[in-house]
């Protein structure tokens, strides 16, 4: 068994750990792999060129951007934020779970730009979650301490991540789905992107259930922590 080609894998790991630009890492690793396999630089260029030509369809997802750009200019994000604001008055747990569902659904339709940390979590979701928990604390005659506030905000950010990751994979135009299809095509297996995308559904459902359960547990623990605190 020839283990030298593993140098290429090592180059990828090292490049990413050193935080080099991923595009650069890929090209460096391609040449390292080629040398380890005793290919000449020109042969490596041939392989890169042929593979790139064959797989250009991985760029087709960019054709969705004119539509999204136009809709964003006419308030798509603002409209989505108005939806989130409508959740005001819900408990913290329900708010985060409703947001999780919306985020997953939107990402599954390809609308990954709705939501996100700078646009939605920081200005809307985190303050609303904090506000809802604050209201619950006041009912118990106490207040949230700084540590609890920080954990609530972190949970809001985590909820956005979970919703995005486990929604976008279901969308056929998403890079990951086309990457998988392109990878298999290279190895002689022809699959439709749709077949791959649909198999993201079971995990998406599990992700929702697990994270929703964790949010509710977090809320119960928060309430218990407040109850044990001496009231003002």
């Amino acid at each position: 068994m020839n283990y030298w080609p593993l140098l290429g894998v090592g180059a990828v790991v090292l490049g990413f750990v050193l935080r080099l630009n991923p595009a650069l890492v890929v090209v460096i690793s391609a040449f390292v792999t080629g040398f380890a396999a005793r290919m000449s630089p020109l042969e490596v260029l041939d392989v890169i060129g042929e593979a790139f030509t064959e797989k250009r369809y991985l760029l087709v997802f960019l054709l969705t951007l004119p539509v999204i750009g136009l809709l964003e200019r006419h308030g798509l994000k603002e409209h989505a934020q108005a939806w989130v604001t409508r959740l005001r008055g819900a408990t913290m747990g329900r708010l985060l779970i409703a947001y999780l569902a919306m985020r997953q659904l939107a990402a599954a339709l390809g609308l990954t730009g709705l939501g996100g940390h700078p646009q939605t979590v920081r200005p809307l979701l985190a303050p609303m979650a904090e506000g809802a928990a604050e209201a619950a604390a006041e009912q118990q005659g106490t207040t949230l301490d700084d540590d609890q506030r920080q954990r609530i905000r972190a949970m809001a950010a985590g909820t956005d991540n979970v919703g995005l990751f486990f929604g976008e994979d279901i969308f056929i135009a998403f890079g990951a789905v086309l990457l998988m299809q392109g990878f298999y095509a290279e190895h002689g297996l022809d699959l439709e992107p749709l077949q791959i995308a649909l198999w993201g559904l079971p995990t998406a459902v599990c992700a929702f259930a697990i994270h929703a359960a964790r949010v509710l547990r977090f809320e119960r623990r928060l309430a218990r922590g407040l109850a044990s605190k001496p009231s003002r």
Binding site: G49, L71, G75, E78
Partner: protein
Amino acid sequence: MITLTWVYWLLGAYFAAIAWRGWRDTGNPRRHTTALFWALLALLLFAAERMPPRGVGAIVVVLALLAGFGCLRMGRYDESSASEKRDEARRLGNRLFGPAVLIPAVTLALAVKLFGFSLSEVGIGDLRLLDSRQTTVIALAIACVVALVAACRLTRQTPWSAVEQSRRLVDAIGWAALLPLLLATLGSVFEAGGVGQSVAGVVRAVIPVDNAFVVVVAYAVGMAVFTIIMGNAFAAFPVMTAGIALPLLVQVHGADPASLAAIGMLSGYCGTLMTPMAANFNLVPAALLELKDPYAVIRAQWATGAVLLLCNVVLMYFIVFR
């Protein structure tokens, strides 16, 4: 018949337009190299199949160098004001979702085969509506055009202004738009260099590969661990799939490749929830939310990732061998 070549021409024309507008964007400190990047990409979409492979390869290296040395920057864009956007959002309401939903809806309508019938096969004699190769990708491109027409009618704008509006998004994505394609290309180099066999050799030496369940665990957990190290599930995918999934699970144990890849990739995403290497998702928000602990977001979400990874192992085992 609508073929993939037409889609490439459309995409090439789009990149050429992006390059042209980018060239004239004086608000971008690196406007010439940014424009060069998209122009080269447009060239490859129009002509790659008629160029010698090593020429294409050389251009790909140039693209990676442009990306790697910060030659792609944001420019200045004609954006509507916040109050305009709010007014438009109120006026158009849920209709704004319409064109966006058309993209997956039209793609599905064209590509899915229902009861042995598919719209893509409609045609006269041997002439089909869509090429049977890459039907979904062609359907997606048509869906984007249909959705664009709908969006233009809804907002009373021209397609050209849609292209101009998308430039902000394209520049924000920048070189990352190329990453899936580059990683797939790296997968081919790995294949040519025999990386898969080497990884499989290591795995064979470490775990009992006759046991399908153990190999499933190795693939799912391997995807997560590699993603934790590199911060990117896309980069882990070609390595782990060429090394474990294809040679051991598909070829030896007869696993279903489509579901295997989907759940494998999502196992990688479980790793993304646990790693500071994915700074955009895990560290930047901690700073944005002014949290004292930079790892607070990871602390809030890692358990979801861990439990979900367990679920993925079980799902994978029962789905790929169904």
